[in-house]
């Protein structure tokens, strides 16, 4: 479990990093917290020519509020997010999701940009990005572009980022005041990738639901927005029957795969169970 030979760059600025990355024409990998990439290297499953290590670029770690968004530098550690007062106040769903990310040592190294760019569909942050309709900023030789959550995830471990682009920022819209939220997850052990996770956000006005958001982790090759299930709630309100109907609909919207940990049927079933549980809890904490 030693990685094959690679060249190593530890730039001090984003510009240097982009320049280094550009030199390898897609054969270089960007190293953030290393919680997934290092095992892939050690297992020799990834054999990049070079690594471009972002850990010395201090300007890539920040949490800022801007224009109704919370903007995270890509190198912001999950541990920082876990304890950020801004996140607790403006993005309580993200805070809750962070508790499900691995274990303390993993969160201490792991970054929000790394988690999203790695695009593991069982991870929590991609589900939150999808649920909140966030976006990411990519910088490349040709400049900067903003990619919406729905356009980012292509399939397993694959995003629409170009090989010479670096994900520099994650932008999540501030959750509406009083929004209910929950992240329900089922994993075989605490800290494992989700067998199924469901991120839910609801905004209510009396019995009406003005906004519902549901997104999955572990239910297929990319995080799935359960739009048709959300619509049931937005149409029918937040009563028990609507929740049941949304949960049932959720199971029809996913095409999960089977693996050593769970059959596809079980994952589909859990999608319904956890959708119901996430909605019930989210509604419980919603004000309005």
């Amino acid at each position: 479990m030693k990685p094959p030979k690679f060249e190593y760059h530890a730039p001090k600025s984003l510009e240097e990093a982009l320049e280094a990355l550009g030199r390898y024409g897609g054969d270089a990998k960007v190293l953030a917290g290393g919680q997934s990439l290092m095992p892939l290297l050690n297992f020799r499953l990834a054999r990049p020519t070079a690594l471009v290590d972002l850990n010395r670029i201090g300007s890539l770690a920040y949490i800022r509020e801007h224009n109704g968004q919370i903007r995270f530098g890509a190198m912001t550690r999950q541990r920082t997010i876990e304890f950020s007062p801004v996140v607790a106040q403006r993005l309580p769903l993200l805070k809750e999701a962070t508790h499900w990310v691995g274990h303390l040592p993993i969160r201490t190294r792991g970054t929000i940009g790394g988690s999203i760019a790695h695009a593991d569909p069982s991870a929590e942050y991609p589900a939150v990005l999808a649920a909140l309709e966030g976006e990411v900023v990519a910088r490349g030789a040709r400049g900067e572009r903003v990619i919406r959550a729905g356009d980012l995830f292509q399939t397993y471990l694959t995003t629409s980022l170009a090989p010479d682009e670096i994900l520099t920022e994650v932008r999540l819209p501030v959750m509406p005041a009083g929004a209910g939220y929950a992240l329900e997850e089922f994993a075989r052990r605490h800290g494992d990738f989700a067998i199924i996770g469901i991120a839910a956000v609801v905004v209510r006005e009396g019995p009406r639901c003005t906004m519902a958001r549901l997104a999955t982790a572990g239910a297929g090759p990319v995080p799935v927005r359960l739009r048709a299930a959300e619509q049931i709630l937005e149409r029918e309100g937040l009563g028990e029957a609507a929740i049941e109907a949304a949960a049932r609909r959720a199971t029809e919207l996913v095409t999960p795969d089977a693996d050593i940990h769970a059959s596809a049927d079980y994952r589909r079933h859990l999608t319904g169970v956890l959708t119901k549980r996430a909605l019930t809890r989210a509604i419980g904490v919603a004000r309005g």
Binding site: K2, P4, F43, H190, D192, S263, Y266
Partner: protein, 864 residues
């Protein structure tokens, strides 16, 4: 305490090992390479589960700068012998594949380079030409006439079969009021010690000695076996073990083929070679327990008295049978009957080879399998008879006045009070209250269950048990040499200031031998533990050892501690003789007490240990005539109850036998199939407890290990023999987050066979947790007619069983049948309701979890 030192045994003395371990200053095999200029090995392993090797292409690997050389199976075949195996079938097990690979991960070549990075780069460049062969991984399928055969010389995949008969089981089954049967499957899982295997080998060309540093733990029978493989006399093969081994739980007993392989590489390439196994290699190809298919039958009377049992086992040892297998079948021979009194038993044990990795001892060595089955049968029997599972167990327990108790299969249970320990567990758990809570929960639609498990906890294997695998006719041949034994040694030296060094021949893997020995010696010599330095770096050239030496089979708490106590007692006897000479008094008027030799009547002068030690070292003239100078003693303790297997296949397979009684309450979430442990009580009788804190640590570890096998861990293979759980992302080991609250209590029945009354405890609840949680989950899901007969209980598999049961219309009426809600005795259900039970498991014998056994049409029943 000052000045006397008496009473350290029984105290939770803090572990002297922990300071160095917690500050990263332990000495493990990878920490301090004791060999200059060692080169590093990477092992090329088979990517295929079954294939012929047509050739090797090494040129690209050898051309890589920094590569020293390589060896392949050809070198192995030419320069080593195959290892001895524990069966008579012609199985040639070499330290690497020679002509054919039989499991994924089997070593085929070794590349040696200046560092491990280059070695791995070069290993990638080694090309092996394979001709793929058909694969078989299932032990039942492997015995089919048309199954691919792994070893052509054997002619089938059956490495061995023994049918052991004790008493008259056929009569017991004829006389039975009720017979219950069930099929169980037990998963292949391991221990995943935090430190993997590591070997450093160096040859001294001038004196022909091969020195091997490794985290080898014994049994030391593997030393002569390895010497033979390498063609060395035993006194030219030196094994040295570092002070610290990072866990083993039996798994490191299987390191010895790598010792031979790395020693061969070092010899052929003329350099010292170091190999540290990585985690991927460890999961792929180190060792594990067997996966087993078991068919069980129990014959009982109407009142719950068990008359006899039948076991039929297929133990899957993987591609070769590696010693000490087939211990998987025979290690528990003496305690086959567990804590129960029945006298008639038939065991049909088949050891099967398939294209999976090899097996060996894994904490509890085969006892997890044994009790999962037996305790599952106890619950099924209780259910069939309408008795409470407590009652059916009590009815059959060996009684305290029966000790020492000889089991029908030859075990000699040295001491115990099983009913008292069981009662203690029930009382601690509040069993009756739990049953009431369960009834309330069930009425509210919740799935709460209570499980029980009882087990005899065998420690200190008598190595003679392995011969149970051989036919009695074979053992009766004049050229056959019987085997028996369970010994350990210790040396104690008293320095001129009266302080002590104790030297052990053991190989601790975290058990705290240094701490425990310091407590024992302090008590024996009237010192404080800080006065005792314990040296525990095994070296076959300098330590006293024998075939059965090593730290395995929960030995140390029983046999190792005995050797220490005896060595100390030799010294105190010498001190008394010496003081008698100085005091000009007859020795019988003196005794060693509270750190000094004193007159028995307590009057007059005394000689302290310090005083005597100073004189003995500084002035040998003061010794009585004929007394050996110096103050050191070596004791070798051996159990006299360790005898060879007899002509009727009876053998006392262990030397001390503890007892475990457990109660667990669980709740199953029927929507997610998550299992929540509500209560877990475990009561142990391991005789005298020397250090309660260390004992508790062992129980925690054992319980978590058992939980791993029951819920999480499995070395799972696909039909092509590819390992599906080859990383810690997929091979799930329970962590602190998964640990339940464990309520521990002890009952103490000192062993009459050991000087301190202690027994082993290191495997402990690893052998009961699979049973107790399976029984608890079965009880929880009884309303759905689900009985757990397969591990691990993954949520996906469990949900499938729940989902199927819920889809079966009769399933919903099942709550009425739940025994716990009803008065048990004398109440039996009408036959027609039994016939309405879900039959899923019956029509589909290999389903993950069977239907309720009451629906099993093959069971004979006379239940009225």
């Amino acid at each position: 305490m000052e000045g006397t030192g008496l009473g350290w045994i029984g105290k939770s003395v803090k572990r002297v090992e922990d300071a160095r371990l917690l500050t990263g200053r332990g000495t493990f095999i990878d920490d301090h390479p004791p060999v200059a200029n060692a080169c590093h090995a990477a092992i090329v392993r088979s990517p295929l589960a079954h294939a012929k090797i047509r050739g090797y292409e090494l040129s690209a690997a050898l051309a890589l700068p920094g590569v020293v050389g390589a060896i392949t199976g050809e070198d192995v075949a030419r320069h080593t012998k195959p290892f001895s195996v524990g069966v008579t079938a012609p199985i040639h097990y070499y330290c690497a594949a020679t002509d054919r690979v039989r499991f994924v991960g089997e070593p085929v070549a070794v590349v040696v380079a200046k560092n491990r990075y280059i070695a791995e780069d070069a290993a990638d460049l080694v090309q092996v030409d394979y001709e793929p062969l058909p694969v078989v991984v299932d032990p039942e399928r492997a015995l089919d006439a048309d199954a691919p055969v792994l070893h052509e010389a054997v002619g089938s995949n059956l490495a061995g079969n023994r049918r052991l008969v004790y008493g008259d089981p056929d009569r017991a089954f004829r006389d039975a009021d009720v017979v219950v049967n069930e099929r169980f499957t037990f998963p292949k899982y391991a221990s995943t010690p935090i430190e993997t295997y590591g070997v450093i080998a160096r040859w001294d060309l001038l004196d022909g000695v091969c020195t091997v540093w490794s985290n080898f733990m014994g049994p030391f029978i593997m030393h002569p076996l390895t010497a033979r493989v390498l063609g060395l006399p035993e006194n030219r093969l030196r094994f040295i073990v570092p002070a610290d081994i990072g866990g083993s739980f039996g798994i490191k007993s299987s390191i010895y083929p790598y010792i031979a392989l790395i020693a061969l590489a070092a010899k052929r390439l003329g350099v010292p070679v170091k190999w540290i196994e990585d985690r991927r290699e460890h999961l792929l190809a180190s060792s594990s327990g067997t996966d087993r298919v078991a068919y069980r039958e129990v014959a009982a009377r109407q009142d719950g008295t068990i008359l006899g049992m039948r076991f039929k086992w297929l133990d899957n040892v993987g591609g070769y049978i590696r010693s000490p297998e087939p211990g998987c079948s025979f290690r528990p021979t003496g305690n086959f009957v567990g804590p129960y009194r029945f006298q008639h038993l038939e065991v049909d044990a088949s050891v099967v080879m398939t294209n999976k990795s090899l097996t060996g001892p894994n904490r509890g060595y085969a006892c997890g399998h044994l009790y999962f089955e037996t305790e599952g049968m106890m619950d099924r029997l209780a259910d069939r008879l309408g008795l409470d599972p407590v009652e059916v167990r009590r009815k059959n327990l060996i009684q305290p006045d029966q000790f020492p108790y000889r089991t029908p299969s030859g075990g000699l249970y040295d001491s115990g009070d099983y009913p008292a320990a069981f009662d203690r567990a029930l009382e601690l758990a509040g069993y009756d209250e739990l049953r009431r809570e369960q009834a309330t929960a069930r009425a509210a639609g919740r799935y709460v269950g209570i499980g029980l498990a009882l087990a005899v906890d065998p420690s200190v294997s008598n190595m003679g048990y392995v011969a149970t695998a051989l036919d009695p006719q074979f053992r009766a041949k004049p050229e056959y040499l019987a085997k028996s034994g369970a010994v350990d040694s210790a040396t104690i030296k008293i320095d001129p200031l009266g302080r002590v060094i104790a030297i052990l021949g053991t190989t601790p893997q975290g058990q705290g031998h240094q701490t425990v020995v310091s407590q024992i010696v302090a008590d024996e010599l009237g010192l404080v533990p800080q006065d005792v330095t314990v040296v525990d770096e095994m070296d076959t050239f300098t330590r006293v050892w024998s075939i059965s030496s090593g730290t395995y089979s929960s030995r140390f708490g029983s046999v190792g501690t005995s050797a220490v106590a005896l060595a100390a007692r030799k010294l105190t006897a010498k001190l008394v003789d010496y003081a008698a000479h100085l005091m000009e008094l007859p020795a019988p008027s003196l005794e060693f007490r509270d750190g000094a030799v004193r007159l028995r009547d307590g009057k007059g002068p005394s000689y302290s240990i310090k005083d005597l030690a100073g004189r003995a070292h500084w002035n040998t003239e003061s010794l009585p005539e004929g007394m050996e100078p110096g103050l050191q003693a070596t004791a070798v303790f051996g159990f006299t109850v360790a005898k060879a297997v007899d002509a009727e296949d009876r053998v006392n397979s262990s030397n001390t036998y503890g007892f475990i009684a457990e109660v667990m309450a669980v709740e199953v979430d029927p929507e997610t199939a998550a299992i929540k442990i509500l209560r877990y009580v475990t009561v142990h009788d391991a005789g005298t407890i020397i250090n309660p804190m260390i004992a508790e640590g062992q129980i925690y570890g054992g319980a978590l290990h058992g939980l791993g096998g029951a819920l999480y861990e499995e070395l799972a293979y696909d039909e092509n023999g590819q390992l599906l759980t080859g990383t810690f992302m997929d091979y799930l080991v329970p962590t602190a987050s998964e640990a339940p609250q464990i309520e521990i209590a002890h009952v103490v029945s000192p062993s009459p066979l050991t000087p301190l009354g202690s027994k082993g405890l290191g495997e402990s609840s690893s052998m009961t947790v699979p049973a107790v949680i399976a029984n608890a989950v079965s009880d929880a899901l009884a309303p759905l007619g689900i009985r757990i007969n397969e591990l691990p209980m993954t949520p996906s598999k469990l949900w499938k069983a729940i989902d199927q049961a819920q889809r079966t219309p009769t399933g919903v009426s099942a709550p009425l049948a739940s025994g716990a809600l009803q008065p048990r005795r004398g109440v039996s259900e009408p036959r027609e309701s039994r016939a309405l039970r879900p039959r899923a498991g019956v029509s589909e014998p290999r389903a993950s979890f069977s239907g309720h056994p009451r629906s099993d049409p093959t069971s004979r029943t006379s239940l009225q």
